[in-house]
Subunit: 375 residues, 2 copies
């Protein structure tokens, strides 16, 4: 498996390690129960620093940040805490600027490291703070949401939203390492676990039919928060994601397949003013982009219904909410980052487990075809 | 010369080409009279794009942007123009955000390229827009100030200032290419040419005594704007800078030598609320850091006076202005990006043409020694 390797899954607290290759180096993704208990040792080994700046939203800070901070300080590390209001609306340039200034005031220098403790919003926002602080300092990703565990924390994408759309400014900034405790997912609301599992379904849909078959049977337990089921899903998804981003860090080629469901999905998210969560929007986006592919004759017939059946087990919406203004969705889609020459592009499946490729991994599709599946 | 090569300097309009190595690729710095006449062809060859966003301050836009834009459009390229108020105060996060949004509105996508036409402020600001726009698009540096030609346009440093200090947020984002017309320097005020020549003096001081001897004789003509003298200085400085940044792109080691004069220099600039120009501040910074090195016994005695004699020919200030609050200077210095464990660091010379090295290229110095040279 190019760029990745997997240590045997031994009993006890020995974590599974998946290596991700990026420009000039590689970094480990460590997955293990209670791995946060050993965070200080991991920081000393993989991300030594004069000072650590722990960034978390207020919810996560209340749950975990005190324990984590105290444990790190007890191990002799200098740590300051920096928080922001939970939720996607905080992923903006003002919060990025405020957090950057907090780091300056706290005396963090070029020899500092950011610890991003939280879900996807935290990973993106804190990652962008690290990417740009004094032209870039290290970041450690400690995902606490299932979406972030299976997807967002691996691969180095960071950024914030602008009024015109999601992630319109940002940077590729690979972490020093990623530490995932699958047990943390047990404490999440069921709905948030469902959103993470949507991304795992995506991983199977784009490159690995066997993985989709494997996790389909595990979805009920994973949805209930069973730690072993979560660990299996997280490990499988991280391995797929690691293989893809190791091959194409900057999304010039293969990495685009990870955007399946995301062209329409981002449009739905933005058009709902982020009332639709990312996971729900991507689930709907996958169904609609499968329908689009079938309509265009590039996706094997029956793919949409297979995806719908899997996603039904997760209890996420399977139909476009009537309240969404479809012209507004199209306007947001037209500003998508994947657009070329101003024409938005879509990742289309060939069938479950294989992405369609023709010149590129993302295809330009006429707006009339997109309208036909949306309206 | 590691990472660089130099084409023979042939007569006519054939440019000199210096290659700079950066992660995974290299880029050319093209130096030639009237090189901007051929910019469209250079863009097509070295930075093909669906759209170009030309960023310039209002002064430079008035002087050059119409001609450049029209020439590019006449060659069939899609170009939009984006301007900001001239001067260091524009190098801030608000202007960065506004320009980014202008690019979005203009339909620039991931397949777009930024053209940074102007001095150091433009290169830093437009470069940071490019570094972060949709997680990074290409940038072409077209320096019009002598400081930017000899120094700032090469090496990929981009960023903006924050209330706490200069360049406190930014990114390393190497350009697709750099195009330098030395003739443009003729149109600058003499004072601005002097500031550029200060950086050229720095290049000689840190690594190349022969180069310092060579340009010392040329300083009067270069100060007058003689195009051949300017071309000689620009080419020599670009070769030195290219060699250094090719060896150490991210300033982990050797590249730090380029910060000679800059620890105190940045402190002076900030403490004067940017009344002191960068060039003037660095000139003073070099004199004071040479004095500091001599005081500490690491810099050969006589180095400060040699530097003072060279800088005297440029007509830049050789003494610290009385109006500057020295405690305020020290406060700004203490936040310098080169600090480690919160202690600022200084690049010290061994002698003219050689930087002192001990464990690292930058040294921690006690505040009392810094006070002794400042007060």
């Amino acid at each position: 498996m190019t760029g990745t390797s997997l240590s045997p899954d031994r009993p006890g607290s020995v974590p599974t390690v998946v290596h991700v290759r990026c420009t000039g180096r590689s970094y480990p993704v460590l997955i293990g129960h209670d791995i946060l208990d050993g965070l200080a040792a991991l920081l000393k080994e993989h991300a030594p620093a004069a000072r650590y700046a722990l960034i978390a939203d207020e919810n996560v800070a209340n749950l975990y940040a005190s324990d984590v901070t105290q444990a790190l300080q007890a191990s002799g590390l200098l740590v300051t805490r920096h928080t922001f209001s939970a939720g996607e609306p905080s992923k903006n340039r003002d919060e990025w600027a405020r957090l950057s200034d907090e780091l300056t005031d706290a005396g963090v220098g070029r020899d500092g490291v950011v610890i991003a403790l939280g879900g996807g919003v935290t990973g993106d926002l804190a990652g962008f703070v690290a990417a740009t602080f004094m032209r870039g300092i290290g970041v450690v990703q400690v995902p606490t949401s299932l979406v972030a565990m299976v997807d967002a924390s691996v691969g180095g994408k960071t950024g914030v939203d602008t009024p015109a759309g999601k992630n319109l400014v940002g940077a590729f900034h690979p972490p020093q390492f990623v530490a995932i405790d699958p047990g943390v997912a047990r404490t999440l609301p069921r709905r948030q676990r469902a959103e993470g599992l949507v991304e795992a379904v995506k991983h199977g849909a784009i490159v690995d039919r066997d993985y989709l078959d494997q996790i389909e049977g595990l979805l009920p337990e994973a949805l209930d928060g069973d730690a072993e089921a979560i660990r299996t899903v997280v490990t499988g998804s991280v391995m797929i994601k690691a293989r893809i981003v190791s091959e194409d860090e900057n999304e010039a080629g293969l990495r685009q397949v990870l955007n399946f469901g995301h062209t329409i999905g981002h449009g739905l998210e933005a058009a709902s003013d982020f009332e639709l969560s990312h996971g729900v929007a991507v689930g709907l986006g996958m169904i609609l982009e499968a329908r689009l592919g079938e309509r265009l004759g590039v996706t094997k017939s029956g793919t949409e219904s297979r995806l719908t059946n899997v996603l039904r087990r997760l209890g996420v919406p399977l139909e476009l909410p009537d309240r969404l203004d479809k012209d507004r969705i199209l306007r947001f889609i037209s500003r998508d980052k994947k657009a070329r020459d101003g024409v938005p592009r879509y990742v289309l499946l060939e069938q479950i487990g294989a992405t369609f490729h023709s010149i590129d991994w993302a295809q330009q599709v006429s707006e009339s075809d997109v309208r036909a599946v949306l309206f």
